[in-house]
Symmetry: C2
Subunit: 355 residues, 2 copies
């Protein structure tokens, strides 16, 4: 007689709907929410079910934060910087221009006080935000003409959103907000001069290489992009403790999984793009420096008039300041040497083939 309530208590059926900000065709990012759904079900013998809906099925992709806050859905999967129009503080949960790379951002979020710093901010929206997926460093996007000086940015119509758009605007770029599916025709017709999306694997699927010859790097506005699993706070609170832990681990699992998937697929996609004629270009250092200056000016201006932003920014920046010496010494010197040596080898092998 005691067993039945015990079962009901330890393993109740929970069914949630998750509104994704992304289309199903974006198998990398959209796939992170599906990964969570699969993992949560697998870890609870199917008792905890999360059904993922692509952008537009339940609510438009950019309204998922409202849907969670208002209780329309229990949860959502999104990139927090979509909501900088509500409050620029959201950006720290995703990425900021010239911020940190993936390892550093994860270190801040998981072990450096980042999540704790963001928690009170998200409580204002009745939302719990769990890191869930990362794209790694993105590309700087597709350009119809080369960018050789800061002056070349003046009047450039570029599809780029949020804080990065504001930074670019300080240098004369005219930022355009265009949904993923509408970028190709705009770039083809020349309505816009440039567009950024994600990286080789996702970009190639949209075919931007057919309408813009120059592919710039680095995507200085997204040295990493942390994606977020939003849960309505009351729903999170009422979850059985074991399910809450299952959800947390599933989201961490999704972070590792999306990163591994991108890292396995981007290299091949980049190689194919280059083989098909795409021309890689680095942003000139003077352009990067002008953008860097503009970015940190923007953060200071924003911090001066937004207390929440200032609080999180101070925490973020202090952590970032401690990171770079170590990363330069150990990771960066290992990477630099191995890449250099490998490139020498490849050139050597190509030379031998030619002989």
């Amino acid at each position: 007689a005691l067993a039945a309530p015990a079962l009901a208590q330890t393993a109740p059926e929970v069914r949630w709907r998750c509104a994704s900000s992304f289309p199903r065709t974006l198998d990398t990012i959209y796939g992170a929410a599906e990964h969570v759904s699969r993992r949560v079900a697998a870890m609870t013998d199917g008792k905890f079910q999360i059904r993922v809906f692509q952008a537009g099925e339940l609510v438009p992709g950019l309204q998922v934060a409202d849907a969670v806050q208002g209780g329309t859905v229990e949860c959502a999967h999104t990139a927090s910087y979509y909501f900088v129009g509500k409050d620029p503080t959201f950006a720290f949960d995703a990425t900021v221009p010239f911020g940190m790379n993936t390892r550093q951002l994860n270190a801040w979020l998981y072990s450096g006080g980042g999540r704790e710093a963001l928690r009170p901010f998200f409580e204002r929206f009745n939302t719990v935000s769990i890191p869930c997926g990362n794209t790694g460093a993105q590309m700087g996007g597709w350009f119809r003409k080369e960018i050789k000086t800061v002056q070349d940015l003046n009047g450039l119509k570029m599809r780029i959103a949020g804080i990065a758009g504001q930074v670019f605007a300080k240098l004369g770029v005219v930022p355009q907000q265009i949904a993923g599916g509408d970028i190709y025709p705009a770039l083809e017709k020349g309505t816009i001069d440039a567009a950024e999306w994600i990286g080789p694997y996702d970009d190639a699927k949209l075919g931007f290489n057919r309408v813009a010859p120059f592919y710039y790097y680095p995507g200085w506005w997204e040295g990493a992009l942390n994606l977020s699993f939003y849960v309505a706070k009351p729903k999170h609170d009422e979850l059985p403790p074991a399910y809450r832990e299952v959800l947390e681990s599933a989201c961490r699992d999704a972070t590792l999984e999306t990163m591994a998937k991108y890292d396995a697929q981007n290299p091949q996609a980049l190689r194919q793009l280059v083989a098909a004629g795409t021309q890689l270009r680095a942003f000139p250092r003077e352009v990067l420096q002008a953008c860097y200056k503009a970015a940190f000016e923007l953060y200071d201006e924003t911090a001066a008039r937004n207390e929440a932003f200032k609080k999180v920014y101070d925490n973020f920046r202090a952590f970032r300041d401690t990171q770079f010496q170590w990363f330069r010494v150990a990771e960066n010197t290992f990477d630099n040497f191995v890449y250099f040596q490998h490139a020498q080898e490849q050139r050597g092998a190509a030379g031998e083939q030619r002989r």
Copy 2:
């Protein structure tokens, strides 16, 4: 009446013992197994319990693979390269000199076919190996004298194990196998000239900076170190499916967690070491190049006489060959610019303070 068997079936009590290869004082790496233990318990309402024992409590640290294979314990937490004496193929589950960095190694293991390539090898040992924790790029260790040329390696007595020791031996180094706790006195007395351990956070706790002035980078033999959670295959097979999934996600969680912990703590430890007088030194490029050449010669020699090694190495190397172009373009240029710019800023700020 039906409920009790259902409960028993879906949530049986499982108690495992995990033999760690590490001492409890190594809170970073030893902590990964404890993290798994905590997460697994939290996700199953305490039904699945894994008790972690430090090296020597159940079996000596370097005998945990035998203990799992022989059924003395259900599971273990270790670094697979400890077992290269059994078979050098184990190394690919941990790291090889000049291999890949953490992101790349994870991409190979989780999404590039690495785990699949290693599975048949581990089946020979009746073991399932689950990635579980990573140290990131390690340091090149502590030296009593500077290394300026390849000749300076000749006759150098260095505490360094496994494949890295074999590579160094090709250049005249005399590798020494010394347990963590015995390194300090050997370095202090001059019984050895150099010793590598892990990185700033772990090394500082052992006080090596007090007995060797030069701290070298990069640790080219460990651009990443994947740690492994070994499970006796019959035990893994008989685990209820949900618990198997819980264990997998807990191990992925531990990978993210240890990385974040190291990345949050190594920077501060390095800063403190440098402030206390430690002198950072980069291995000269000619030394790195000689070691690189020796490493790949060793892999070719080993592959020629070991079929299992060849199989995994071919897979590993093909994946590695595809990775670097992409990582140079996106991640490396982002890192290089941001580190450069940040260092300029810091120098600027220091200059202003002096004025």
